[in-house]
Subunit: 225 residues, 2 copies
DNA sequence: GTCTATAAACAGATAGAC
DNA sequence: GTCTATCTGTTTATAGAC
C-alpha cells in the first residue's frame, strides 16, 4: 500500500517487513503447537521448527516462551476465526431456520479450525493459574462477546426488555456454545448441529416469555410471589 | 511371621491397607497438583511431595505420571464432588425459587472446590490430544450426566415430550453450566448466581413452549412456518 | 513399601558465527 | 536476523539401601 520511504520493495522485503513476517509465522506456528501440545508441553524448538526456523529466530523476536504465549493471548482474537457475530449476521426466512442455520454454522466453524477450542482452553487454564494474565484473557473474551451482544440487542426490540439483558444473554449464549463445542469433541453423537439450534430456540423463546413486557411500560412488573 | 490372616489390624493397618491408603493419598495429591500445574507442568516429585512421600512411593504404586493421570480420569467422578443431580435434588416452593436456588448451589459447588474445573479442562485437553483416552473421559462425563438426565426426565411429564428430550436437555444444561463456570472464573461480575437461575428459567420455559404437546397426542405437531 | 542416589534425556535460554 | 553450539537446570525413571 504505502511506500515506506522511496524504494519500499526493490528486491523483496525490507528488513523490518522480513522480521515482521517471521514474527507472524512464529505466532501462527505457536498457535498450532500450543493447541497440539499445550503451553507446558510445547517446546520452543518445536514451535520454531513448525514455523520453519530454529530457536534463534524465536528468541530474536520474543523474550521467551511465556511472552510468545501471552502475545498470542492478547493478539487479535477475530482476524483468525470468523467471530460468533459474523455467523449470526446471516439472514434466514424464519426464526426456526435461523436457529437451525446458526447451529449448523457454529458446528462448521468449530469443526473447521479444530485448534481454537484447545487453544482457548490453554488460555483459560493459564489465566486461572496466573491471575496477572487474567485481565488479558478477559479482554480477548470481551472482543468475542461484544459483537454478539450487539446483535442480540438488535434482535430484542428496545423498550420491551431490560437494558442489561443483551449483555446477560450474550454471556449465556457464549457459555452455551463453548460448553457444547467442548462436549462435541468428546461425544459428537450427543451434540448434533440440530441440538445447537434447538438450544437457542428454547433459550430465546423462554426469554420472550419470561422477560418481555408490554411496549411502553417503563417499569418492569415482577409478577412473582 | 505375620498375623495378618487372623489378626487383621493388631496394631494399625495391614500392609495392603497401608498401600491402598498411600495410593489414595497419591491420587488426591495428583488431583490437586494437576489442577494447579497441569498434566505436563506437574512433576512426579511435586505430586509425591504433595502427598507426603517421595518419588519412590509413587513409582511403587503407579507405572508413571501418565498412568497416574489416567487412573484419576477413569476414577470415581462423583465421590469427590457433589454431582449436579444432588444439587438438583433439593425441593423448592416455586419454579422461580427452584431455578434461583439451583443457580446459587451451582456457584457454591464451583466456588467451593476450585480445582475441579481446571482438572476437568486438563482431562478434556488430554482426551482431545490422545484419542485412545477419549472413551475413558466420555465415560466419566456420562457418569456426571446420567443422574442429571434422569432428574430432567422426571421433571418433564412423560408423554408430553419426546422420549429423547431429557438426554438432549441434559447435554444442553451440562454444557451451559460448564461454560458458565469457566467464564465466571474470568469474569465473576458478568456471571452472577442470578444469571445461572435466569438461564435455566429461560431454557425450561422455552422448552415447554416449543416441545410440549397436548397429552395423548402421539405425533408432535410442528407449528412453525 | 518407601527412600536415597543416580542415570539419561530434555527443557529454556544465551553467546558467538555468519 | 537467523543459525549453531553450549550451558544450566529440571525431568522421568530406575537401582539399591533400609
Amino acid at each position: 500500500m504505502s511506500a515506506e520511504a522511496e524504494e519500499p520493495r526493490r528486491h523483496r522485503l525490507t528488513r523490518a517487513e522480513a522480521k515482521a513476517r517471521t514474527r507472524e509465522l512464529l505466532l501462527e506456528a505457536a498457535a498450532r503447537t500450543f493447541a497440539r501440545k499445550g503451553f507446558a508441553g510445547a517446546s520452543v524448538e518445536e514451535i520454531a521448527a513448525e514455523a520453519g526456523f530454529t530457536v534463534g529466530a524465536l528468541y530474536s523476536n520474543f523474550a521467551g516462551k511465556e511472552e510468545l504465549f501471552l502475545q498470542l493471548m492478547s493478539g487479535r482474537a477475530r482476524d483468525r476465526v470468523s467471530s460468533t457475530a459474523e455467523v449470526l449476521a446471516g439472514e434466514y426466512p424464519t426464526d426456526r431456520d435461523r436457529w437451525t442455520a446458526l447451529g449448523q454454522q457454529m458446528i462448521d466453524v468449530a469443526d473447521k479450525d479444530m485448534d481454537i477450542a484447545p487453544l482457548q482452553a490453554e488460555f483459560w487454564l493459564y489465566a486461572v493459574r496466573h491471575p496477572e494474565a487474567m485481565e488479558t484473557f478477559r479482554a480477548q473474551l470481551g472482543q468475542r462477546r461484544a459483537p454478539l451482544e450487539r446483535l442480540i440487542g438488535e434482535g430484542l426490540e428496545r423498550g420491551r426488555y431490560p437494558d442489561d439483558l443483551p449483555g446477560r444473554v450474550a454471556t449465556v449464549v457464549s457459555a452455551l456454545f463453548q460448553g457444547m463445542v467442548r462436549q462435541r469433541r468428546i461425544d459428537p453423537d450427543n451434540v448434533s448441529a440440530e441440538l445447537y439450534g434447538d438450544a437457542l430456540r428454547w433459550l430465546f423463546t423462554g426469554l420472550e416469555v419470561c422477560e418481555s413486557r408490554p411496549a411502553g411500560d417503563e417499569a418492569a412488573e415482577a409478577g412473582d410471589g
